[in-house]
């Protein structure tokens, strides 16, 4: 990932088409300097404040961070569900904002969003067949009903809902959380997407179900070359699913560390990333008890409407030093193997 040593804004655009490493295709979907601001009675909420991200075919980009840090907001912009207040979203190098109707419909079909909550994402009065075939019909991807059932059944098999015949006519309430999630994946797959944006799609599920769902998604990534923007709170899940890809850690609307997954997870540099990884409970009682934990200076996240001066993380940061930390916001700058926004770590 040599391209990580070049600031996102200076990176060669996808139009140049040259990869920067072995097996590294140019991005299919990019966020370039995107901002999102919500106007609320409490004041303007800068939910996303200048984020650059690239999703490549067959690769995973994982967004992690605490609740409210702007993951879903970024993902919604990437999926074209909301336009950025500033900056641009590029699909195959074309700015989505400047697309005509046909291009836009193509974009909508090629970039699929899978919702956070397996319970809320499916229409309760529709059968699995009806849910999945609706999109196929809308985009004219199937002819008659027989073909629609056959294609739907194939999609169910793809996401390991087998035998498909048993599931076609079920309603969501007749399925488990994990099965519903698979239906949501199948519905997305029906559109033959190049990118899947999966928001927290595993977090409410049992561990056992999570892993098999991740394996199903992994197959789509490896066999169909689907690129993923994958959003999770769980660093262990990020590590497993994005091992060959990248992790971007977000804090209060900005990326604070971004690099190849093995580097970020096994050798985190930003104090916030360190705290996130340190906080994971490992299923090993000896590890859990024999470990010196990082102490944050505060466990509360500042309000977006009332951000602290300087580094957003300074009121909580264990490495905080008086001076730059509380007066200058650290820029996200390239280091040896990643992008990092921290005065102290970058300076030392």
């Amino acid at each position: 990932m040599i391209d990580r040593t070049v600031p996102a804004t200076q990176r060669p655009g996808p139009a140049h088409g040259h990869g920067t490493g072995p097996g590294d295709a140019s991005p299919v979907l990019s966020l370039q300097g995107v901002h999102q601001v919500f106007r609320t009675p409490r004041g303007d909420v800068p939910a996303v404040a200048g984020v650059d991200l690239d999703v490549r075919p067959g690769r995973v980009l994982c967004l992690v961070g605490e609740s409210g840090c702007g993951k879903t907001t970024s993902a919604r912009m990437a999926a074209g569900l909301a336009g950025p207040a500033q900056g641009s979203v590029l699909f195959r190098g074309r700015d989505v904002a400047g697309m005509d109707r046909r291009e836009r419909s193509d974009f909508r079909r090629s970039v699929q969003f899978i919702h956070q909550d397996p319970y809320a994402s499916l229409n309760p009065v529709r059968t699995v067949y009806s849910t999945i075939s609706a999109g196929l019909r809308r985009h004219g991807l199937v002819g008659d009903r027989r073909e629609a059932r056959r294609v739907t059944a194939e999609l169910l098999e793809r996401v390991d809902l087998t035998p498909a015949e048993e599931h076609l006519d079920k309603y969501p309430h007749q399925m488990s959380g994990g099965q519903r999630q698979r239906v949501a994946v199948a519905r997305a797959l029906a559109m033959n997407p190049e990118v899947i944006i999966a928001d927290e799609s595993t977090s409410m599920l049992d561990v056992s179900i999570r892993v098999s769902l991740l394996n199903t998604l992994g197959k789509l990534r490896d066999e169909l070359g689907v690129g993923f923007l994958f959003i999770t709170h769980d660093l262990a899940v990020a590590k497993y699913f994005a091992w060959d890809g990248e992790i971007a850690v977000m804090y209060l609307g900005r990326v604070v560390e971004h690099g190849p997954t093995p580097r970020v997870v096994n050798d985190p540099q930003h104090p916030y990333t360190k705290a996130l990884i340190d906080a994971v409970c490992e299923p090993d009682p000896d590890l859990a008890h024999g470990r010196e934990r990082i102490r944050l200076r505060s466990s509360e996240i500042p309000e977006l409407t009332d951000l602290p001066p300087g580094c957003d993380f300074h009121p909580r940061c264990p490495l905080y030093e008086q001076g730059d930390c509380d007066s200058v916001r650290p820029p996200l700058v390239p280091g040896r193997d990643r992008l990092l926004a921290c005065h102290v770590v970058n300076g030392g």
Partner: protein, 353 residues
């Protein structure tokens, strides 16, 4: 917190002794399912036991059953729930009369429910939740000022700022603050037993971490016993002294935390543990455990896990395994597993010691 004198239970014997408990739900006219079957265990004073297993295995149902907090359609239909009260008397929670039961909850045992928001009355400020709890249980003794002082103290105990929290409505608090408030409320009358149902699920990892640490510290300070329900095995490893695995309504393995995490002897427990991807070290491919627990209304005849078990043999489909002790220890810390092949699998090196 000097006045938090630890509840001092009698020196000997279990605090809670669960004997052959079944819990059923009515699901229609003359239809019912048994969601918990024949569960027995002893919990000694100060112990922390985690109940783990996939969703739907009966963890919440058992927890609710122990305190008779089941919904109207649910009932503990068999067994005994013996509890040693602060005054040393042994009672069967199943037979407590209404008024006695009300005193028993909060005073002796309290529960922090799954889904913090639902546990609050949304139109009452946090302050009133505390005052109501105190009033309902001290028989009118104690002044309002004294109760508020005590509420503030409890909130500080879970690292909340009483000045801010007491006057708030539940929806004005973050998920983490609500969960802490519930824990403070549950501890208000210094119960000997705290039952926590998925206390940190749906919370951010840093919030989860600080609650987990605070709970561990509080247990040291106040010495209450804990039953800790979770599907997060990492949390169990961290907070429990012992673990019970539940599957399809039964306890299928129980042992010390080390027994379970380092030498699980039931294939279901091992599969659960191996399905957690670790965050430290190199990439390890987690085990996937396809399928899900069987429907309670159509349990397979032999071992309930047989349809998913990769070690199943013919007799697993017809003989139901019993929870056999593999290593006997005092105070409920024995290691036991309900698998017909636990000795063979151990001998073959499939499970390790």
């Amino acid at each position: 917190m000097t006045d938090h004198i630890a509840a001092t239970p009698p020196a000997e014997g279990p605090l809670l002794s669960v004997r052959g408990v079944d819990v059923g739900y009515r699901t229609g006219r003359r239809k019912q399912v048994t969601a918990v079957r024949d569960v027995s265990f002893d919990l000694h004073p100060g112990q922390s036991m985690a109940l783990v297993g996939e969703s739907g295995c009966g963890k919440t149902t058992l927890g609710l059953g122990l305190l008779r907090l089941l919904p109207r359609t649910g009932v503990v239909s068999a067994g005994e729930v013996l509890f040693r009260r602060k005054d040393g008397r042994l009672v069967d929670v199943r037979t407590l009369a209404r008024e006695d039961l009300r005193r028993f909850r909060w005073n002796e045992a309290a529960m922090v429910f799954q889904g913090a928001m639902n546990a609050f009355n949304p139109v009452l400020r946090v302050r009133d939740h505390f005052l109501d709890t105190f009033r309902a249980h001290d028989g009118g003794r104690g002044s309002r000022a004294r109760h508020l002082e005590r509420s503030a103290e409890l909130l500080r105990m879970v690292r909340l700022d009483p000045g801010r929290v007491l006057d708030s409505f539940p929806h004005e608090l973050s998920g983490g603050m609500r969960q802490r408030t519930l824990i403070a409320l549950a501890l208000a009358l210094r119960p000997q037993l705290l039952i926590l149902d998925e206390p940190t699920t749906a919370l951010d990892i840093l919030t989860q971490r600080s609650i987990v640490e605070r709970l561990a510290e509080l247990r040291e300070e106040l010495r209450f016993a804990m039953v800790f329900i979770t599907h997060d095995l990492g949390l169990a490893a961290e907070l429990a002294d012992r673990v019970g695995t539940m599957y399809a309504g039964r306890m299928i393995e129980t042992g010390t935390t080390r027994d379970i995490f380092h030498r699980a002897r039931h294939p279901y427990t091992s599969a659960l543990i191996n399905s957690v991807p670790p965050v430290t070290g190199d990439l390890r491919v987690p085990e996937s455990l396809p399928g899900g627990p069987p429907s309670l209304s159509a349990l397979p005849p032999g071992c309930s896990f047989a349809p998913r078990c990769k070690h199943a043999v013919e007799r697993c489909g017809s003989t139901r395994p019993t929870l056999d002790v593999l290593r006997s220890r005092p105070e409920g810390m024995s290691h036991a597993a309900a698998c017909l092949r636990s000795h063979e699998l151990f001998a073959e090196g499939v499970t390790r010691d």
